[in-house]
């Protein structure tokens, strides 16, 4: 049985369809990443699945419990970490953890070891008497995770857990998530960082309440239309201007000292690039096809799904 099952899940706020008919299964023991820009519907999806928001229509089950009819039973089996820091800043690290242990009714027996283990693996042991409000962003997130894990949930929902956290803490956070996977916890995480999403087992690209693509990062990358040619040059900005004048609109992007050209015809485009740049006296140090990033795929999928620049 799937750990999370959504069937036509829809949520409207007034006229706005925040979530539009999501249908998706997430298997037990998998890390699934929901990726998309702000306003795509990630947080709404999270809240629906955490049974703290009722859908307008459609159904969903989490750990076998229906999220509306069996909301309270579902809450016993899930851990949820909201996007905003949801713990008490005027309580200490240990007070927050003990509070949630009581709320979840964690049995007294074995509880101390459990708390110690959580503190240790989130590297919070030295800070357990510190007020949560005085923790750094990365440590706050780890405390949030520790509290969400205190009752050994079957499914963990993390809403943009690494937003605004330094890259070092982000890596740490993901390391913890992988350790959890070994205990067969299902992890459903949302993120706006596309590079981060590649660390998940499967991802769902989301925009405007709909899933544009679902699959392993490799599968999703195969949805990329065309190939990306990367050009490295000292005069990247001038090169971009030159290439934009000769190549189809929308196919040229500038990334610092690199220019990317998206094309269906690698050979032909390569020749045209070389010709155009040479004609303008621009030297290229490198020109090669590269593997697309998830962001490239996102742009490609979004661009084909609508005239993406003029969406309201």
């Amino acid at each position: 049985m799937a750990a999370i099952r959504m069937a036509g899940l829809t949520k409207s706020f007034g006229d706005l369809r925040a979530i539009d008919g999501l249908t998706l299964d997430v298997e037990e023991g998998e890390i699934f990443a929901l990726v998309g820009p702000d306003g795509a519907g990630k947080t709404t999806t999270m809240r629906l699945l955490a049974a703290i928001l009722d859908p307008t229509s459609g159904d969903a089950w989490v750990a076998g419990h229906h999220i509306v009819k069996e909301a309270e039973a579902a809450k016993e089996d899930i851990g949820y970490m909201s996007q905003r820091f949801g713990l008490y800043t005027d309580l200490t690290v240990i007070e927050n953890i003990e509070f949630y242990a009581d709320i979840y009714g964690v049995p007294r027996r074995g509880r101390q070891e459990k708390i110690n283990r959580l503190l240790a693996f989130s590297n919070l042991t030295p800070f357990k008497q510190r007020l949560a409000g005085n923790l750094s962003g990365g440590m706050k997130q780890k405390l949030g995770l520790a509290c969400a894990l205190i009752h050994t949930p079957k499914v963990l929902f993390l809403d943009e857990p690494t937003n605004g956290v330094d890259p070092s803490s982000r890596r740490d956070f993901w390391r913890i998530l992988y350790q959890l996977l070994r205990e067969r916890v299902t992890i459903f995480v949302s993120t706006a960082y596309l590079d981060e999403a590649e660390r998940a087992n499967r991802i769902g690209l989301m925009d405007h309440g709909k899933l544009l693509a679902v699959g392993t990062p490799e599968e999703v990358k195969r949805l990329m239309r065309g190939t990306i040619l990367e050009i490295r040059t000292a005069e990247a900005r001038r090169a971009t201007a030159v290439l934009r004048a000769t190549l189809p609109p929308g196919s040229v992007s500038l990334f610092g000292d690199r220019v990317h050209v998206v094309t269906e015809d690698v050979q032909g485009a390569g020749d045209r690039v070389r010709e155009a740049l040479a004609g303008s006296g621009i030297e290229t140090s490198e020109l090669r096809p590269i593997e697309p990033t998830l962001e490239d795929v996102f742009v490609s999928v979004l661009g084909s799904s609508a005239a993406a620049t003029s969406r309201t």
């Binding site: 909201s82 007070e95 003990e98 979840y104 949030g144």
Partner: protein, 377 residues
């Protein structure tokens, strides 16, 4: 309902209150401050009425009359004036409330046994105080004229005359008619109502505002567990406030307590649960600290102050307003406290009020539980 969860919530609230000494200080200092402030300001006795004198007579007779005013505890002499313009200025500026004008031929008229008139000019803008002040002034003048008559008749060798009819008022329950004796027991419910509602009006709204509620509702915690857990610490603070108020009544205002102290505290506890739950309802509905705070203030203070029978007697209100007072829980508690304090009566007399208080508390607890949703939006 799992006791452990209720306890966890209560403990968490306790820790938060302890870490916020300013709010805790407010919760304890506020009722004391209000009690002192209203206890003294709201006193309905009029004394030390400021008065100026225009003594045109400047005679021993006029000075004797004036000394009667000066010697009375009800008046305070603010000085002498020489014309009406000064009288007007004194009243306009609020320096004086009253002017006594003794005419030029006062001594002659008194001496010759003819009726003498003195003029009393009173600021009528506060009609209540003015009426009482005029009453006092009349008393002073009458005593003075009676003595003159007495002296005159004694001088003539006759027997002193007694007025044919004399009224002897007898005041029950508050024999010395000191208004503080019924103001203080009446104030306690009003202040407790406001403080209790304010205390809890923030607690749930704050969790929504800070984002901690989103986390909390994702757990299996039940609404009643949350509400009762939050009530516990505030109930303790509230009862402590009641104790302080009673102690202040005893030692600061010297209000005699005739009835049962136990009954007083039991009733206070019921009232407190109702008022705290009402604050909770406001907090649940408002979801925003500022709004909740203002709502709590408006919904508790105004009705409790005006419609509880503290300031205005309910029996003289027009009937539609009288009906409304039944919705003001402070009304029952005011009646209960006045009964316990002034009349020393027990439940055999106050059962009706006690029952209605219980209904109020139960209704508020139920409403809080009914209103609370473990869902967003």
């Amino acid at each position: 309902m799992k006791p452990r969860r209720v306890l966890a919530i209560a403990r968490k609230e306790y820790l938060q209150i302890r870490r916020d000494p300013r709010s805790l200080g407010m919760a304890i200092a506020m009722p004391m401050l209000l009690l002192v402030l209203f206890g003294y300001a709201l006193t309905l006795d009029v004394d030390r009425v400021p008065v100026v004198i225009w003594d045109q007579s400047e005679s021993p007779a006029s000075r004797e009359l004036i000394s009667r005013f000066a010697g009375s505890r009800y008046f305070s002499l603010k000085g002498y004036v020489r014309n009406y313009r000064e009288v007007e200025r004194g009243i306009d500026s609020g320096r004086t409330l009253m002017a006594l004008v003794v005419p030029r031929d006062f001594a002659g008229q008194v001496g010759s046994g003819r009726p003498a008139a003195v003029q009393l000019i009173v600021d009528g803008s506060d009609s209540n105080t003015a009426t009482i002040a005029i009453g006092y002034a009349e008393g002073v003048v009458q005593t003075y004229s009676r003595e003159i008559t007495l002296r005159a008749t004694q001088g003539l060798g006759g027997r002193p005359l007694n007025p044919p009819v004399e009224m002897r008022p007898r005041v029950w329950f508050n024999a010395d008619m000191e208004s503080k004796n019924y103001i203080i027991p009446g104030l306690i419910p009003v202040i407790m109502m406001v403080i209790a509602a304010l205390l809890t009006s923030l607690t749930i709204a704050r969790e929504w505002e800070r984002g901690t509620m989103e986390q909390l509702i994702s757990t299996p915690v039940k609404g009643p567990e949350l509400i009762f857990g939050k009530l516990v610490p505030y109930f303790v603070i509230g009862m402590f406030d009641v104790l302080l108020a009673v102690l202040m009544g005893e030692f600061v205002f010297h209000v005699p307590l005739r009835g049962s102290l136990l009954l007083l505290f039991v009733m206070a506890a019921i009232f407190l649960v109702g008022a705290l739950s009402m604050g909770m309802v406001i907090s649940i509905v408002a979801k925003n600290q500022l709004l909740a705070n203002q709502l709590a203030m408006i919904l508790t203070f105004v009705p409790a102050f005006i419609l509880s029978g503290l300031v205005y007697a309910i029996s003289v209100m027009p009937w539609p307003i009288r009906l409304v007072t039944y919705l003001v829980p402070a009304r029952y508690f005011v009646a209960l406290l006045k009964g316990i304090y002034l009349k020393g009566v027990g439940l055999n007399v106050l059962a009706g009020e006690a029952a209605l208080l219980l209904v109020f508390a139960a209704a508020m607890v139920a409403l809080a539980n009914f209103q609370f949703r473990k869902k967003l939006g």
